[in-house]
């Protein structure tokens, strides 16, 4: 389905009211422990309003999926959760992101410390121009890890379903791998430091179904100890792995392209019985 085609008629027909209220979002969380409470009022790139009114609570030891049409701001929201947008010129953020009770946008916060405990796998594979082993060990070195490097590197590579393919060439360059292998290397690099919260931006978009399943198994395994937020275009994947799902959409009514949250609910409810019209249309379109 081409989601952009879908967006044009829908936004013009439907009023802005078709989205979850704060009370509905709070009800969707219930009394589950929220590890990261993301409340975006507005998020600008220069004069461009990229995202507004998006509150997504991320529950501890769960997988939270972000879905929505291309360009609706899923990556933007995800990047703002570990302050990666700070590197974009003209980035402005209004709202708050509370992580374990601290607002990571508060002035006294060190963004470097934020990124140490919140890991990220990017939409594009981005291994370093160094050996496979060193790629995975990079974060360990940064954190002055004192334990057994070989063990941790192997565990991370196994976790990312890459070990069997690279165990005989750990010293060759990370750039010599295929695109899908590079993406798994990046996953291994991110999980090697065992971040409390792991943000993954379409980690499986370059993977074949088998590797995808293995990464999904890994996510399910990781959530026992850590928390994961994942952006995905694959609705089946969100259904398979995510405990809760946030559906974002793009508002083109005022001439801009502003993403905002439509619906946030436990995945089973959102996919089987969507509350909002746009969610229904998006899910229906995806399956037809």
């Amino acid at each position: 389905m081409n989601s952009q085609e879908l967006s044009a008629p829908m936004t013009s027909e439907m009023p802005d009211s078709g989205r979850d209220s704060a009370a509905q979002i709070a009800a969707a969380v219930g009394d589950a422990p929220v590890v990261m409470d993301c409340r975006i009022k507005t998020l600008h790139y220069g004069d461009f309003l990229a995202v507004r009114d998006t509150d997504i609570p991320i529950v501890s030891n769960e997988i939270t999926a972000f879905i929505g049409p291309s360009g609706c701001g899923k990556s933007t929201v995800l990047r703002s959760l570990n302050r990666m947008n700070d590197f974009v010129n003209g980035f402005r953020f209004e709202g708050s992101v509370h992580y374990r009770g601290q607002d990571i946008y508060a002035p006294e916060i060190d963004p470097v410390a934020v990124r140490r405990s919140i890991g990220m796998v990017f939409q594009q594979p981005n291994p370093f121009a160094m050996s496979i082993y060193k790629n995975v060990a990079f974060g360990l070195k940064l954190n002055n890890f004192k334990g057994n490097f070989d063990e941790r590197v192997e565990a991370a590579l196994r976790g990312a379903a890459l070990w069997d393919e690279v165990k005989d060439k750990l010293s060759s360059s990370g750039l010599s791998l295929s695109g899908g292998q590079q993406q798994r290397l990046c996953i291994a690099r991110a999980i090697a430091v065992e971040p409390e919260l792991l943000l993954m931006d379409e980690p499986c978009s370059a993977l074949d179904p088998i590797a995808t399943r293995r990464v999904e198994d890994l996510m399910l395994e990781l959530k026992e100890k850590y928390t994961i937020a994942i952006v995905t275009h694959n609705l089946q994947q969100a259904q398979r792995v995510a405990d809760r799902t946030a559906f974002l959409f793009v508002d083109t009514s005022a001439g801009g392209r502003t993403g905002y949250l439509i619906e946030y609910r436990p995945s089973a409810e959102l996919f089987e019985d969507p509350r909002e019209e746009r969610t229904k249309a998006y899910i229906r379109g995806e399956f037809s």
Partner: protein, 301 residues
């Protein structure tokens, strides 16, 4: 009707238009013509280079022997001798200038690429460096004469190194900057995303990734500096003796030797100038080839 059916039948199974290469075709002809043009112009451009190399080997190769490198330059009208002092001198002067130019140029490049951005200071430094790359080399010599030779009161290897360094710094800085900027920003983002500070990202990711490009820049600058004569005439001068470890004394160099001997009335000195030219070109070539091999990335092997 029958005809139409016949002509349509193969179209369903075979390609619509012939995919075969045809010689007379305008597209093919144009393609070949451009290839021929490009190859012949390239050969034409290479012609001076190869004729120079040919002359060097024919005229300079005759004197090649171990004693060429182990003996001192002969005086006027004398036979024998070599160019040993000039070879050593050139290497010493180039080493001095590299020691001066590499840290300054490289760190300048790190500032420009990673911290400067569009800041006024960075723009100014970049502009100055671009202007300096076009600086006539004789001016670098005059500058080093005025600042080093006049103040220390003597011609010296150090002054020669300074003059060369002035020529090397802008090249090292600008080529290193572009090598640093060529490091994909997604690699930097990956490092930042792991919680690396800017310094850690620059030291562990950006610089190691850019090393091949930086070395290429250094080699370019070195090769240029090594052949320079004018800046050394005012600074290092020349010496008929071996380098004794004193940087404050005049020193011999291949380029000045060539300058002095090429116009000499004595035939033997002229042939030594040819030999020195061949040696100079060979040193530059060897340095370049070594750098190419040393900096080749593992995945390219």
């Amino acid at each position: 009707m029958a005809n139409a059916a016949l002509t349509q039948a193969p179209a369903a199974t075979g390609p619509r238009t012939s995919l075969r290469r045809t010689i007379g075709n305008r597209r093919t002809l144009g393609n070949s013509a451009l290839t021929v043009l490009a190859v012949s112009l390239t050969l034409l451009a290479m012609f001076p280079l190869f004729s120079v190399l040919y002359m060097l080997i024919v005229r300079g190769g005759a004197l090649l022997s171990p004693s060429l490198f182990t003996e001192l330059t002969p005086g006027a009208g004398m036979e024998g001798g070599g160019i040993g002092n000039a070879v050593v001198g050139t290497l010493v002067v180039v080493a001095i200038s590299t020691c001066l130019a590499l840290p300054l140029g490289f760190l300048g490049a790190v500032y420009l690429a990673e911290y400067g951005g569009d800041r006024k200071l960075a723009t100014l430094v970049r502009f100055a460096a671009k202007v300096l790359t076009g600086l006539p080399s004789i001016l670098a010599g005059v500058f080093a004469y005025a600042t080093v030779v006049v103040t220390t009161g003597s011609f010296s290897a150090l002054a020669g190194g300074c003059a060369m360094a002035i020529l090397m710094i802008p090249t090292v800085m600008l080529t290193s900057e572009s090598a640093l900027l060529a490091v994909p920003s997604k690699m930097k983002m990956a490092a930042f995303g792991m919680g690396a500070t800017r310094a850690q990202t620059v030291l562990r990711i950006v610089i190691p990734t850019a090393i091949p490009g930086i070395l290429t820049g250094v080699m370019l600058a070195l090769a240029r500096a090594m052949g320079e004569t004018a800046p050394l005439l005012f600074t290092a001068l020349f010496s008929d003796y071996w380098f004794e470890g004193k940087l404050t004394q005049p020193i011999a160099s291949l380029s000045v030797l060539i300058y002095n001997f090429a116009g000499s009335p004595f035939e033997h000195q002229v042939s030594l100038a040819w030999a020195a030219s061949l040696v100079l070109v060979s040193i530059v070539l060897i340095l370049n080839v070594t750098a190419q091999f040393a900096t080749r990335r593992p995945e390219e092997q």
